[in-house]
């Protein structure tokens, strides 16, 4: 019974230490996000140009009716399909 009491005390301590630590750790992570990441985001914003360039690209290719990437994708899918449906092992 003494042993059980000791176990209870240990479990209680573990519970306390664990919850303190979990809150401390994830709390620090909040600080990390607010202090570090947010500032990084301001210093290095996502490159807008690149995105718009990409969009432009897609537009151009879509104007051609069929994008060469889609053609490539379909032919790749065709070859994958063929491969996978070969006779077994």
């Amino acid at each position: 019974m003494e042993n059980l009491t000791q176990l209870f005390i240990d479990a209680g301590k573990l519970m306390l230490a664990g919850m303190v630590f979990v809150f401390a750790f994830l709390g620090l992570l909040i600080i990390f996000i607010n202090q570090v990441l947010v500032k990084l985001a301001i210093k290095f914003p996502d490159p807008v140009n690149q995105n718009s360039r990409k969009k432009a690209k897609v537009k151009t290719s879509e104007q051609d009716g069929v994008s060469p990437q889609i053609v490539a994708a379909i032919s790749s899918a065709v070859s994958q399909y063929r491969q996978k449906h070969n006779n077994k092992e």
Binding site: L14, M15, I33, L40
Partner: protein, 377 residues
């Protein structure tokens, strides 16, 4: 004729033990839950099958030279399989919602009270004759409250391998039962008004934030809790591969073929621990009961934490998303969304709930690290 006699003596029928039959039925039960009820089928199908295989008399699947023996000792005893799964999960995880609303980390932290309260509860069970959980056993059981499969398997394989089967069954079953367990608790601890709270749209998160985040998490784990670095490290590696944008083919393999291959083996290996003498005892009942308690306490803690935060902050949080802090990604977030929609049909909480949801993954990995550091030898 002696050949037919030898054949007969080698049949299962002539060699069955009662426990093996029961455990095969348990395996069939897991398959039924997985296939007919869609209970976490990706793990439970191979695991239920593994439970059947390991209990076949004569065949020796889990003895030296048997297939499941190799799988278990190469992949689970070493911790490699759960860590690879965790890498793949990291490659599937988008921390955007968490970074946009970091306060939700507190919800993920609060929900881990399910783990530590259960640890206390497991020790309390020792008061009942028949239960003799050590602090290691109790810790391995408590992690069920983390609602995270690979974390539970990893910790149980280190602290209490003989309980691994029961712990995995409980963890995955309750993860599948999240849509049934959580809503009543969520409603009991919130008012109709609270459930109607609408939340502001999340800000845009830039690429650099998403790239630096896993590295920051890893650094903090290194500084404060090295014992959690196997889990957190592999998770962050997967997430970094996802977000860095230069190794898409590795990220894709990690979240598809590699995780699929490892999942088959992990399920078979965990199933191989479902032997009669390890599973058919009163401790398993205790573990199943404690698992339900753990999920319930975790859910309640998350909800109550959200209400507490609302006391101190202008920007209100819908307390329903606190329930997602138990992890069980993405099921718990979906449940929060659904219960929210019932109260307010224009209130879409899904993205908001993803914050505490992925915070819960980190939280339970941290909790696992604490338990390893304090009760692992």
């Amino acid at each position: 004729m002696e050949q037919l006699n030898t054949l007969w003596m080698s049949t299962g029928l002539a060699n069955f033990e009662f426990g093996q039959i029961v455990m095969m039925l348990v395996g069939c039960g897991l398959l039924y839950l997985a296939i007919a009820k869609n209970f976490e089928p990706l793990l439970l199908v191979p695991m239920g099958f593994g439970a059947i295989l390991t209990n076949i008399p004569v065949a020796g699947f889990s003895e030296v030279g048997g297939l499941l023996h190799y799988i278990y000792y190469a992949g689970i005893d070493t911790g490699i399989f759960p860590l690879l799964i965790f890498m793949g999960v990291g490659a599937m995880t988008d921390f955007g919602a968490l970074i946009a609303n970091p306060k939700t980390l507190l919800l993920g932290a609060a929900a881990q009270f399910g783990i530590f309260a259960t640890l206390f509860g497991a020790i309390a069970l020792n008061a009942i004759p028949g239960f003799e959980f050590s602090l290691q056993d109790a810790s391995a059981i408590a992690i069920i409250g983390g609602a995270d499969g690979p974390t539970a398997i990893f910790l149980a394989s280190k602290l209490a391998p003989e309980l691994l089967g029961a712990i995995a069954v409980a963890a995955y079953s309750y993860m599948a039962l999240v849509p049934i367990i959580q809503p009543p608790i969520m409603k009991a601890f919130t008012t109709e008004e609270e459930r109607k709270i609408e939340m502001a749209q999340l800000r845009h998160v830039t690429k650099i934030e998403k790239v630096i985040f896993p590295l920051g998490v890893l650094m903090m784990t290194i500084f404060f809790l090295p014992a959690a670095t196997p889990l957190v490290g592999m998770f962050c590696l997967g997430n970094l591969m996802r977000e860095c944008g230069v190794v898409d083919r590795l990220s894709s393999t990690a979240q598809n073929e590699l995780i699929n291959i490892v999942t088959i083996f992990l399920g078979l290996g965990v199933g191989s621990k479902l032997s009669a003498n390890a599973f058919l005892n009163v401790e398993t009942l205790g573990i199943l009961a404690l698992g339900a308690v753990a999920f319930s306490i975790g859910t309640a803690s998350g909800v109550l934490m959200a209400k507490l935060m609302n006391k101190f902050s202008k920007e209100k949080v819908n307390p329903l998303i606190g329930a997602a802090g138990v992890s069980a990604v993405p099921m718990a977030a979906r449940v929060a969304n659904k219960v929210g929609l019932e109260a307010n049909p224009h209130n879409f909480l899904l993205m908001h709930a993803m914050g505490p949801n992925v915070a819960g993954v980190l939280g339970s990995a941290v909790a696992a690290g604490i338990l390893l550091a304090l009760v692992g030898q």
